[in-house]
């Protein structure tokens, strides 16, 4: 019988720590269930049963009553989740601040006005503008207008940022200061039946005169270290140990901030920013990739690229193959198809991983055609990700599978906008087919799920709940044929996104050699009633072997 030789003991430097849990769900097909995990130098040394204790010593019982899963991997979020909370939240749905305070949803115009009045009274100076975010007019049949906001203040500007940030709703003072009247308006300045601007201003031109007067309280300022820390806290609270930041310019000062903050000893997540192509041509994109290479470390992963091809379905700006219900023929391209082709053609052979935003099915069609050309010419290489991929059909998914692409569905849409997609954007038939995780899994694709925070809240358990149950916010079934199992859903928020991000060699499952990144849950997501998955609590996370318990949420408001 072999025993450890002195040489082996020498190599095994670093203290080994063993943990036991009620159950460990590894997401590792070779070893799906376990009770013990041994950790050394921030990485997983071994996964197994009680026998690990005889090898590595008695297990720490801190997790003993609970369920350990791989640290969640948020496949598509934005670090601006850490910025936007500088403003008070007034959205329709309850939402938790990164520091745990729960803001109750404002579900009626009166509730919204009451909340704003409260906020208005707390403002320090007499004429400063009141800002709030998270509002979405799509949820209101009697949507709030300038007259409602005039109930909040007739002396200071009131400015509500919609969740999409493409729209604001303002009061009369703001319109007056901006000089917007029935005679001075452009497309995007919405009017009431009498032809007067109703306070809703869409897109840059209509918003400009107002923001010019009141300032943009969020994005004028840029990233501060505290914003990145706040994003980290939001991730930690949701059980996320690896989070993408899927649209970044990575300007030198932004990169410096991210670099410094993610190196702070207690920063709780690995951040994966993707460089956005929007502002660059190919040559300069390559230049920027070269500039940032070597700046990454084990909590900051650089080098992937984000291409945004089209808009959003709820904004009628996604590129679709059939017109929208309201008669809008089609959405818009955010990049020229020929530039998208040029970028993919040039970057695929260099190994750069591409995250390609395709909301509408015409956008996914374009990108599939490009990949078919590119893969035919230079072969399959690194896996790329189709982001959102909301309207892909079975034929497109089959082609994506052949091309080795990963699909990352916007699962939360089913809940937050499912009713609206059915009634207002694309209709019941298409809405039922959106985010088709079942079809994709049956075709053998790697399927990830995401929140797109701050568009919807960070929360992999909630993404799982959406894909498993496919309920809209009003409790209706939407495309139950596309439901997936809790096990499949858990893979879609752990290992599958890790594959999509090219990080499955280090995160995404509880497997020897990977980082000791775990999330501790109070109940078993594979065991609870599927409708209870979203009620499971995150008790804390371990990042690289360092345990950080969840901080109790403060009181609701």
């Amino acid at each position: 019988m072999l025993t450890a030789t002195p040489l082996l003991v020498l190599v095994m430097t670093g203290e080994v720590k063993t943990y036991r849990a009620l159950k460990i769900i590894t997401m590792d097909g070779q070893n799906p269930g376990a009770s013990h995990v041994a950790v050394r130098a921030g990485k997983i040394l071994a996964v197994g049963g009680k026998a690990l204790e005889s090898k590595y010593g008695e297990a720490d019982a801190v997790f003993a009553e609970h369920i350990l899963v791989p640290g969640f991997v948020e496949a598509h979020a934005h670090a601006s989740e850490g910025m936007i909370w500088k403003l008070p939240y007034v959205g329709f749905y309850d939402r938790m601040h990164p520091d745990g305070q729960v803001f109750r949803g404002c579900t009626t115009v009166d509730a919204l006005v009451a909340r704003l009045v409260e906020l208005e009274q707390a403002l320090a100076t007499q004429h400063e503008a009141l800002f709030a975010w998270g509002y979405d007019s799509i949820y209101f049949s009697d949507k709030p207008m300038r007259r409602d906001l005039d109930r909040v203040s007739t002396s200071r500007p009131v400015v509500l940022f919609h969740t999409s940030l493409h729209l604001i709703t303002v009061n009369s003072v703001a319109l007056e200061l901006a000089g917007i009247t029935r005679d001075n308006r452009v497309e995007g300045v919405y009017v009431d039946d009498a032809g007067e601007p109703n306070g809703e201003l869409a897109e840059v031109a209509a918003m400009f005169p107002v923001l010019r007067v009141v300032g943009d309280p969020v994005f004028d300022v840029g990233y501060a270290a505290e914003d990145v820390r706040r994003f980290g806290r939001a991730c930690h609270r949701a059980g996320i140990t690896t989070a993408s930041d899927l649209y970044s310019d990575l300007e030198p000062d932004v990169l410096d901030t991210f670099d410094a903050v993610t190196r702070e000893p207690d920063f709780p997540a690995r951040i994966v920013p993707a460089l956005a192509t929007t502002r660059f041509n190919l040559e300069r994109l390559r230049g920027r990739l070269t500039e940032i290479s070597g700046r990454g470390h084990d909590r900051l992963y650089l080098g992937s690229v984000k291409i945004v091809t089209d808009g959003a379905i709820a904004g009628f700006s996604a590129r679709v193959r059939q017109p929208y219900l309201n008669g809008i023929e089609n959405g818009v391209w955010y990049e020229a198809p020929q530039k998208i082709r040029e970028m993919i053609r040039a970057l695929h052979p260099t190994g750069v991983r591409l995250h390609i935003h395709v909301n509408g099915d015409e956008a996914s069609e374009l990108v599939l055609q490009i990949f078919e050309e590119v893969v035919a010419a230079s072969g399959p290489r690194q896996r790329h990700v189709l982001e959102h991929a909301q309207m892909m059909d079975a034929d497109q998914l089959a082609r994506a599978k052949r091309l080795g692409l990963v699909v990352n569905f916007f699962a939360n849409h089913t809940y937050y906008w499912g009713d609206q997609h059915r009634d207002a954007t694309v209709g019941a038939e298409i809405a039922a087919r959106m985010n088709p995780a079942r079809t994709a899994l049956d075709l053998g694709l790697d399927v990830a799920l995401h929140s797109d925070a701050p568009v919807t809240p960070l929360g992999p358990l909630f993404c799982m709940w959406c894909a498993v149950n496919r309920h809209t916010a009003t409790g209706r079934d939407l495309g139950p044929e596309q439901r997936i199992s809790p096990d499949e859903a858990l893979r879609a928020v752990t290992l599958a996104p890790a594959i999509g991000m090219g990080m499955d060699d280090r995160v995404g499952s509880i497997s020897p050699g990977k980082y000791a990144d775990f999330t501790l849950l109070d109940r078993d997501p594979l065991g609870v009633e599927p409708m209870r998955i979203r009620d499971i609590r995150v008790l804390g996370t371990m990042l690289g072997g360092a345990w950080q318990p969840a901080v109790s949420p403060s009181a609701s408001r």
């Binding site: 901006a178 000089g179 917007i180 001075n184 308006r185 452009v186 497309e187 995007g188 300045v189 897109e203 840059v204 031109a205 209509a206 918003m207 400009f208 005169p209 923001l211 010019r212 943009d216 994005f219 004028d220 310019d249 929007t278 502002r279 660059f280 041509n281 040559e283 300069r284 230049g287 023929e329 089609n330 818009v332 391209w333 955010y334 990049e335 020229a336 198809p337 020929q338 530039k339 015409e362 374009l366």
Partner: protein, 295 residues
């Protein structure tokens, strides 16, 4: 109010070439040029006063800045600078609708909408309008133009050019079509008269005529409106004039829309208008008789 012009056109149409010419013209009026892709801007080093980050300052007072991700924020930065420009030129991205960008100039009290130039890749247009992915995008861009500027004439066959001109004139009959030339500034000035006076048409234009009207007579806005309603061959008038009540101001007429803005002037400033239309327009004396206060 600072005049704002927007330069649009699909990816590869020649916007950067146009802008580079604009920037490198040494006698350019002090302007701010906001571009999408800063790296494509090629400024003659002899003209550069300062090169920093995302802004190049030229010796002639022009600045060229990167648009960044937020047009509104970039514009604010320009407007709030120590030395605000005399005019602002924004490059629209290759897929955006320049008309929607120009809405900023239409609505902002600080800005004056001063023309959308859409540059047309003459050699590629026919293919673009037949391309399933981009036909609608390109069409929307063309429709937003105050002036369509044909580029790449050196690589487009004469037959192709003629077909393109015919097609544009059929679809966008109210929009003048001109040939891109070395005279970027004159093309801009034609859209928007500046303090240096209304510029005159840069030849060759395709089927459009211009009349310049210079006179000491007083303009009658009512008569002008009535005259415009009778003349469907006149689609545009720009310039300065004095009214019967002695107000001096800036006049812009596009189709049936007439805009008048009173501005300070010295007593000897007279009427200087450019009238743009189709076919044989009346002579400047006849125009004067039709739109000025009767003797």
């Amino acid at each position: 109010m600072i005049p704002l012009s927007v330069i649009g056109g699909f990816l590869g149409a020649g916007k950067t070439t146009f802008l580079n010419r604009l920037i490198n013209q040494a006698d350019a009026p002090r302007c701010a040029i906001l571009v999408n892709d800063f790296g494509d801007i090629a400024v003659d080093e002899r003209l550069v006063a300062q090169h920093g980050g995302d802004t190049i300052t030229l010796k002639n007072g022009c600045v060229c800045c990167s648009l960044g991700n937020d047009l509104g924020r970039s514009l604010s930065r320009v407007l709030d600078g120590d030395n605000p420009p005399q005019r602002i030129i924004v490059e629209a991205s290759g897929v955006s609708n320049p008309g929607r960008i120009m809405d900023i100039g239409r609505i902002s009290p600080e800005l004056q909408a001063d023309g959308v130039i859409v540059i047309v890749d003459t050699a590629a247009l026919q293919a673009q309008l037949a391309d399933r992915w981009i036909a609608a995008t390109v069409t929307a861009q063309l429709a937003s133009a105050d002036l369509l500027l044909l580029s790449k004439l050196d690589i487009a066959a004469t037959r192709v050019r003629d077909e393109v001109v015919a097609r544009l004139r059929e679809k966008f009959s109210d929009t003048p079509v001109a040939q891109d030339s070395e005279h970027s500034w004159q093309l801009l000035a034609e859209l928007a008269p500046t303090e240096t006076g209304p510029a005159f048409f840069v030849e060759p234009h395709f089927g459009f005529t211009a009349r310049s009207v210079v006179s000491e007579r007083r303009l009658d806005l009512q008569r002008l409106r009535r005259w415009m309603q009778r003349r469907d061959d006149v689609y545009r008038i720009k310039g300065w004039a004095r009214l019967a009540n002695d107000d001096y101001g800036l006049l812009q007429v596009v189709g049936k829309n007439l805009a008048w803005e009173t501005i300070p002037a010295s007593d000897d400033d007279g009427m200087r208008l450019v009238v743009i239309g189709r076919g044989e327009l009346p002579g400047s004396g006849a125009i004067c008789d039709a739109v000025c206060v009767g003797d």
